[in-house]
Each structure stands twice: as structure tokens, then as C-alpha cells.
Symmetry: C3
Subunit: 144 residues, 3 copies
């Protein structure tokens, strides 16, 4: 009997320890009630504490229209947790043609309303979809 | 009259809500009083809460001199908010020639004074400027 | 004598200021008592406040076995600070063959137990080791 009690108490402790380590995240994914894409295995937005991690959003065209649509999608991602581009602190931009992106940067800049984040842009070989040419991911902070 | 009061109170609430969502960042950008580059659309350093997001800093030469100059620029970025390389927790390095960077890593390592961050290095097709061969971005934390 | 006292007090203040800026990180590196790789100059895991920054972990094969081994290595990195894949909020995946990774994604997805992070995948030219084909880095949060 003593052994069972000990085993029981150990199980409670282990469970308590495991629960103590659980974090509380909130997610959002394009009108998807599951709040994530279970096929590719990612969520568009993950909120933890006061930080929003926003997955790469893509465009197949590096044109003013393509860039505008991509940043509108990011804006929608931000809005889901009450944020705007004014909350973005970091932008990572991956493209297959960095000169085209530089040429049409005005279409991106308008979204930041003259309040720009830290940013790194690199040209890569390919993105997730074969036809994608531009992908932008963000980190945004909400007020504490 | 009642309607005006209601409208007025609603406006106050909406304003309060919007302001509540504003974050307070501090920025720094290479002796630039605007504290950001409004042409490319980014800031060299964005401070939010106790975190510094530092934009990719570049070198056109993957030589001990080129690497030293790049890390000196990062050091200057860190120093603006009282941080040093001892505050760096994450380094992302993008280069067009990873073997050259590995060969001259000693020039980088000296800056960390034997206290290294988590790091990921990848070789990419191209960087922002056609002549750039190395770009390093950092995340640093200040004491809370 | 007065000057010495002043100098002494100044030295104390400077030291206090410097110490005030020190952050307290914890690290872990593959059974390495130094808790970092001083040759390449990085640590596998850096813990700061309640955040874990996990360096890119690699595989030379984009097969179910290669992917499984890579994510097991990441799992071990997470476990060192009591975290699991349930604590991961952001994943960045770099590969030399994104189609191969998409094909064998099931081997990755099982680790997340249907609770996926924000994620960005890009295809790059090369990774740190010439033979590496896949590299995954993570950000995980512990409960505050």
C-alpha cells in the first residue's frame, strides 16, 4: 500500500511539474477555426506573453500590387491581436529577386507610416511554393 | 444633447483603446537624427522593453579586416543602448561564401570574449547591396 | 587624499553601472562542460529571462530518418531547460532542397503533436557544413 501511495504522489508531482512548464499561447490562422494549418504544420500568428510571431507571408509577384497584397495580409495578421505595423519591431524579408524588391519598396514603406522596424533582407534560392518570389515574416510587440 | 455626450464618450474610449495598444520603442541609426533610414525603410537598432533588435550590418569583404569592421559596427549599435557583445543572445549570419567566413572566424570570435550566443549561419544568393558578401543581425537583451 | 577618494568612488560607480548592464543567461551545449563550442563560437541553447534561443541543428539527409534525428536533437536541446516542442513559438527552417523537406514533413510534424508554431521555410545555397542539407532553429518560451 505504501508503495502505491508513493507512486501516486510521484505521479502527481510529475504532472504538476509538467503543467508548471506549460505556456499559454494564442494563435490565429486565415479564417481557419483550427487556428493553424495542420497540413504544412504552422500557424500564421502565435502570441506569447506580449509578443506576436508572424509567419512568412508570400507573394508570387514582386510588383507594387504583389507587395501591397502581401503587406495587407501581414496587416490582417497583426490586426487579429489588436496590433498594426506600428507594433512591428523586426522584419525579415526573403526574396528571389532583391533588386525588384528595392525598386518597388515604396509599396512596402507606406504600410509603416514612417515608423520603420529593424530589418534584414536577403536573396534566397527558393521559397516554400515554387512560384513564390517574396516572403516576409515579422515580430511585433504589444504593450505590456 | 444626450447623443453628443454618448458620441463624445465613445470617441474617448476608442482613443484610449488605440493608445493602450501603442508600444514605446526607442531607436538608433548611424548618427542620423531621424533615428532611421527613410529611403530603405529601416532602423539600425530598435529597443522594445529590454530587447534590442539589431538590423543586418554588412561587409563587402570576407577578410579579417572586413569582419572586424562589421563587428565594430555591431558593437557601436549595441553600445548606443549600453549593451556589449555580452548582451547578445542570438546571431544570424548570412553570407555569399560561408567557407571564407569559417576561415576568418577568429576575427569575429574576439568580439564575444569567449561568451558566445546561439547562432545560425547560412549561405545565400545575394544581399541587399550587390557588392555585399556578409551580413550579421543580432538580438540582445538588457537586464530587466 | 580627497582626489583618491573621488577616484575610488568613481571607480565604484563605473563598476556598478557596468554590472547593472550584465544579463544573466544560462547555456547548454551537447554534453560540453564549457556549455558552448569555442571553435565555431556558439552555444546550442541560450536561456535569457523566460526565452530559449536554440541554434540551428543540422541534418545531412532530408529523409524521414534524417529529419527525425534532427528534431530529436532539437527535442534534447529543449528538454535541457524543461521545455518540449509545446514551448516552441517560432521555427526557421533552412534547406538546400525544400521539395524534399515538404515531401517528408510528416516526420517533422509528429514532434509538434498538433500544436504548431509560427514558421518560415526558405531554400538557401549552402549551410555551415558542405554536406548539410537541412538546418532548423527555434525560439521557445518558458512560463513566466
Amino acid at each position: 500500500m505504501k508503495h502505491f501511495t508513493l507512486l501516486f504522489l510521484t505521479l502527481i508531482s510529475v504532472t504538476a511539474l509538467a503543467q508548471e512548464k506549460k505556456i499559454v499561447t494564442e494563435k490565429w490562422h486565415w479564417d481557419n477555426q483550427l487556428k493553424q494549418d495542420t497540413t504544412a504544420g504552422y500557424a500564421q500568428v502565435v502570441k506569447i506573453d506580449n509578443v506576436l510571431y508572424i509567419s512568412g507571408t508570400v507573394s508570387t509577384e514582386i510588383t507594387p500590387e504583389g507587395i501591397t497584397n502581401l503587406y495587407r495580409a501581414l496587416e490582417r495578421s497583426l490586426n487579429t491581436f489588436g496590433a498594426t505595423f506600428q507594433n512591428v519591431v523586426k522584419e525579415n524579408l526573403y526574396t528571389t529577386d532583391i533588386e525588384a524588391m528595392k525598386k518597388h519598396n515604396a509599396a512596402r514603406k507606406v504600410f509603416y507610416k514612417n515608423n520603420f522596424p529593424a530589418a534584414t533582407w536577403v536573396q534566397v534560392s527558393r521559397l516554400y511554393m515554387p512560384e513564390a518570389k517574396l516572403e516576409v515574416e515579422l515580430i511585433a510587440h504589444l504593450p505590456k
